[in-house]
Amino acid sequence: MSGLLSFVLWLPVAGALALLVLPRERVGAIRVTALATAALDFAVSVAAAAVFDRGHADRMQLVEQAAWIRSLGITYHLGVDGLSLPLVILTTLLTLLCVIYSWRVEARPKEYMILFLLLETGMVGVFVALDFILFYVFWELSLVPMFFIIGIWGGPQRVYAAIKFFLYTLIGSLAMLLAILIVYFHSSPRTFDIIALIHQKPLAQDLGLAVLAFWGFFLSFAIKVPMFPFHTWLPDAHVEAPTAGSVLLAAVLLKLGTYGFVRIALPLLPGAFQQEAGIVAVLAVIGVVYGAMVAMAQTDLKKLIAYSSVTHMGYVMLAVAAAASIAGRGALQGAAAATLGGATLEMVAHGVITGALFFLVGVIYDYRAHTRGLGDFGGLGLRLPVYTGITIVAMLASLGLPGLMGFVAEFLIFLGAFQIYPALTVLALAGVVITVAYFLWAIHRLFFGPLNTRWEVLPDMDGRERWALGPLVAVMVAAGIYPRPLLDMINLAMVNILSLLR
């Protein structure tokens, strides 16, 4: 079975190379090639999930390990567990849906598709890499295609947004590189292998240095998440990015940050994280409440959804901080597992839900109304029943309505976090109330009231759009009603990660 992950990882690059040799006039062939690559990649990742032993989701499986640069202890080391596998599938699914959605992109379709496929490799790579150098390479690799996607296919302010996005996250990456080097130079034997380093915990004896390394990782991950106050690149990037770019940005790229916290910062530097957990938790809760308030102030639908990501990632970070703060304490292990499991599920749920929401913004903006101003709409429920229904479901999922995926994640986060940080959790719950208010208000302004006469001839969603959104809605409902299969797998991985914190 080994080789499966490499296949998922490199197939998009192969597809991109194939696109490279296709002449740019053959638009149909370009689209079909991109679609075939993305579809095959998704299928293989599902196959990987099928051979994955979910009963042992706490272990790294489908592991591939080969020497790469022996003298420096760098290896080509891949593997997935219950934490990374759902994120890999999320990535391949959303890339596929983005290709379907982008069928009608007319400006430079060849380059567009190549960049999306390269982006897929970068994102999958971060989730499957178990070597720091590999991890770092993919981390940076995911940055470049998105820079061009925003900068070339974006809106009017695209250059500003792209450069801001690139520089901001690059500064974070450099901090992470320093942190990696600190860890590396204190390991013995010298290795970049993440799993080996987690077991070694090279900085366990030197808390001061561990805290320094922690803040290095923190800066990088927190910018990516993004946590308050490092979030302002996000609305700009989202607003300017083309629809499919926004989708992948929200659904997957933000998860790189939270994934980094759970996979690396938590088990590698538990002592330092424990010491700083309070600060992280406070920033997370500020992100929840403040993000919700700022979201409410937005008049641009895309910006509103962008700020809702700040809120949702705040829940995740509250959970991670709560789990970190009780590292090694036996009594609250159950609470930590619950909240951390909820956090991982929230990563997937947010990917599905917010991915769908950005598609939905695109449906109305790209091909229909060409405006995203909440005040410009009204009464669309009369004209676009299918669009209205799907959007309301996605927004209700985002605000945490039971029966949909987001609720399960949020409930577990709060159930666990309340036992560790009761006061902060209550504040976060207040943020939920604001979230409910602004989403309902958005629904109110978009769909209710008398129909704005400007939109009397808008067509409802077409087949391509339904195909891009149907799977996401199905996942929202299915995982909201019966989360066990996903949750059990995640839980095993979380128990394993928590057992490493000593």
Partner: protein, 631 residues
């Protein structure tokens, strides 16, 4: 049946799934599917009730999730309380769904109405069956969602859309407290199952002030859902929904879920030190009972009068539960469901005929609509507690419990009872007695009363006032039969749905007599003002001008909330938006700008021209020479 009771919610859920996807192509455009779902569910519920009366019980659990190494167990519970609720919801919902076939006729979104109705029925059954806080909360939110969707069913009307928004957000504020309560209970007990929680309380593992706090937080959810003071503002506005929705969701079932929640988690309240939590419940209920009734006195919209009445009656249920009248409170929930559903459906029948909600434009309808009139009257007499109608049994039991417990609460409740008769008498005389005062002749039936756009739009000239079709009147008659006779079930009910450790106080003829006299006095007072006009209402309005204004303005509570939300919340939100843009992001851009300016400044160091570099070298040499010489 008892061991497969989980099938009951799935029947309407299946109907929902069918209608939402294939509505227009189904028989009866979905209505028959919806009716089939709820009638089957009702029959199953009655079967379950029969078995539970015979002693059957069931608690079916499974592991919803594994967290850490422990399963989070949840499931469904069939006991007397849930069996009773299942049967009530099943029967009332069936009748209202059948009635809707007539009422909603001609609506362009007809199938969608039945889809939402079925979804609501699923959620309500699920809520009743929950044996744990997780399922209860999930169903709690789902019924809230259905309420939102159905209040805003005619969403193109801005009033309806706003009412839906207000309802969802107001109840969600209550749910914020409910969620904290649930988390607190889980923190102390480590389980979400009611059974585990109650056992922990019995064993002394969970008690003291924390228990009181947890109970009151849970009650916060009930305050929102049951429209109790101070979260009551949403219910009158919710009357913007179609009338069957008001009957089912905002009278019989969902709003009563708050009282059900208190009953379901009664040990939390009962075992709080000194019954403190129960005292809180009783006072909120008692105050709401009176407060809502006063506002009902001055309302001219027939449905809003009934909405205030519902709030008030829910207050009685809370009051009953709070003064240890567990069975009394629950019995009032059941009887109220029948007679209030009846009142709303009869009011809907009236609205269907006259195409207005305003009492001032009705009058004389008793002659034109005899079935509607007589059934409405039966409901009104049941509501006001006139013997031998259903309400007197349940309401008297609550008044009795209040009398033995706390005289202040009894006074609140008795005053509320007087006002109940007064506003219902006013309503009956305005609507059914005298001459028709409508500005325009009313609609004939079958014109859909213009539901597509607005139920209040004007009718067609020339059509006569008309009784509603039998698909609407038959449910009225059946509900009226319940409203007349259900009260006699009080004895068996008390023995069936009871809370161990709470005994009803011995019956007191004196208290009963006072309650009945108060109720009759209310009717007479209403007659004096609105029928015989011995004291015309205009005189009263003039004499009590300030009080009248206060009531019409709903004690300024809505204005206060609007001021808080718009006057304080709005600027805070805008400030946050500006802060983010100019301060947080401003600092980021400032960093970028500083870096750029530094780059621009340092650019002159690297001009690439040899003369400049030579000049710099020369100046450097000069400086060095000067410094050396000066030394």
């Amino acid at each position: 049946m008892t061991h497969v009771a989980w099938i009951i919610p799935l029947l309407p859920l299946a109907a929902f799934g069918l209608i939402i996807f294939w509505g227009e192509r189904l028989p009866g455009r979905g209505a028959y599917v919806s009716i089939a779902g709820i009638v089957l569910a009702a029959l199953a519920s009655l079967a379950v009730l029969g078995e539970v009366v015979g002693g059957a019980r069931a608690d079916l659990t499974y592991a919803w999730a594994i967290v850490g190494r422990r399963p989070l167990t949840v499931g469904v519970l069939v006991d007397p309380l849930s069996a009773m609720m299942l049967a009530m919801v099943g029967v009332v919902a069936s009748l209202i769904t059948i009635y809707s076939v007539g009422y909603m006729e001609g609506d362009p979104r007809y199938p969608r109405f039945f889809a939402y109705f079925s979804l609501f029925q699923f959620s309500m059954f699920f809520l009743v069956l929950a044996d744990n806080f997780l399922f209860l909360y999930m169903a709690w939110e789902l019924v809230g969602l259905c309420s939102y969707l159905l209040i805003g069913f005619w969403f193109e009307r801005p009033v309806a859309a706003r009412a839906a928004l207000k309802a969802f957000i107001t109840t969600r504020i209550g749910d914020f407290f409910l969620m904290i309560g649930i988390l607190l209970v889980f923190l102390r007990v480590g389980s979400l199952r009611f059974d585990d929680i109650f056992r922990a309380i019995d064993l002394g593992g969970f008690g003291g002030p924390v228990l009181t706090v947890a109970a009151l937080l849970v009650f916060g959810g009930a305050v929102g859902k049951s429209a109790q003071v101070p979260l009551h503002v949403w219910l009158p506005d919710a009357m913007e929904g179609p009338t069957p929705v008001s009957a089912l969701i905002h009278a019989a079932t969902m709003v009563a879920a708050g009282a059900f929640l208190v009953a379901r988690t009664y040990p939390l309240f009962f075992h709080s030190p000194g019954h403190e939590a129960l005292t809180g419940v009783a006072y909120v209920g008692g105050i709401t009972a009176l407060f809502a009734a006063t506002m009902g006195l001055v309302e001219d919209d027939i449905k809003r009068v009934l909405a205030y009445s519902t709030m008030s009656q829910l207050g009685y249920m809370m009051l009953g539960l709070g003064v240890l009248g567990y069975s009394a409170g629950m019995f009032h929930l059941i009887t109220h469901a029948f007679f209030k559903a009846l009142l709303f459906l009869a009011a809907g029948s009236v609205i269907h005929a006259v195409a207005t909600n305003s009492l001032k434009q009705m009058g004389g309808l008793a002659r034109a609509m005899p079935v509607t009139f007589w059934t409405f009257l039966a409901g009104a007499l049941a509501l006001t507690g006139i013997p031998p109608f259903a309400g007197v049994f349940s309401k008297d039991a609550i008044l009795l419990a209040a009398f033995t417990h706390d005289k202040v609460l009894w006074l609140l409740a008795a005053a509320g009872a007087f006002l109940t008769s007064l506003y219902m008498g006013r309503l009956c005389w305005y609507a059914f007695a005298g001459e028709y005062r409508g500005a325009l002749p009313a609609l004939a039936h079958g014109q859909g009363a213009g539901h597509g756009g607005s139920p209040r739009n004007v009718g067609q000239p020339g059509a006569a006032l008309h009784e509603s079709p039998s698909v609407m009147t038959v449910p009225l008659v059946i509900l009226a039969v319940f409203s007349v006779f259900l009260g006699w079930a009080e004895g068996p009910f008390d023995r069936f749905v009871r809370f161990a450790g709470v005994e009803a106080p011995p019956a007191s003829l004196g208290v009963l007599l006072v309650s009945v006299l108060v109720a009759v006095a209310g009717w007479l007072a209403a007659g004096v003002v609105y029928f015989w006009r011995i004291v015309p209402s205009e005189d009263l309005r003039r004499a009590f001008g300030p009080v009248y204004t206060l009531l019409v303005r709903k004690y300024y509570v809505d204005d206060l909330y609007a001021w808080v939300v718009l006057g304080l919340g709005g600027p805070a939100i805008r400030l946050a938006g500006l802060f983010d843009h100019y301060v947080v992001d401003g600092l980021v851009n400032l960093t970028g700008w500083v870096a750029r300016q530094m780059g621009l400044g340092l650019r002159y160091v690297q001009t690439g021209r040899a003369e400049n570099y030579l000049l710099l070298v020369f100046l450097g040499v000069v400086v060095i020479v000067l410094v050396t010489l000066a030394w």
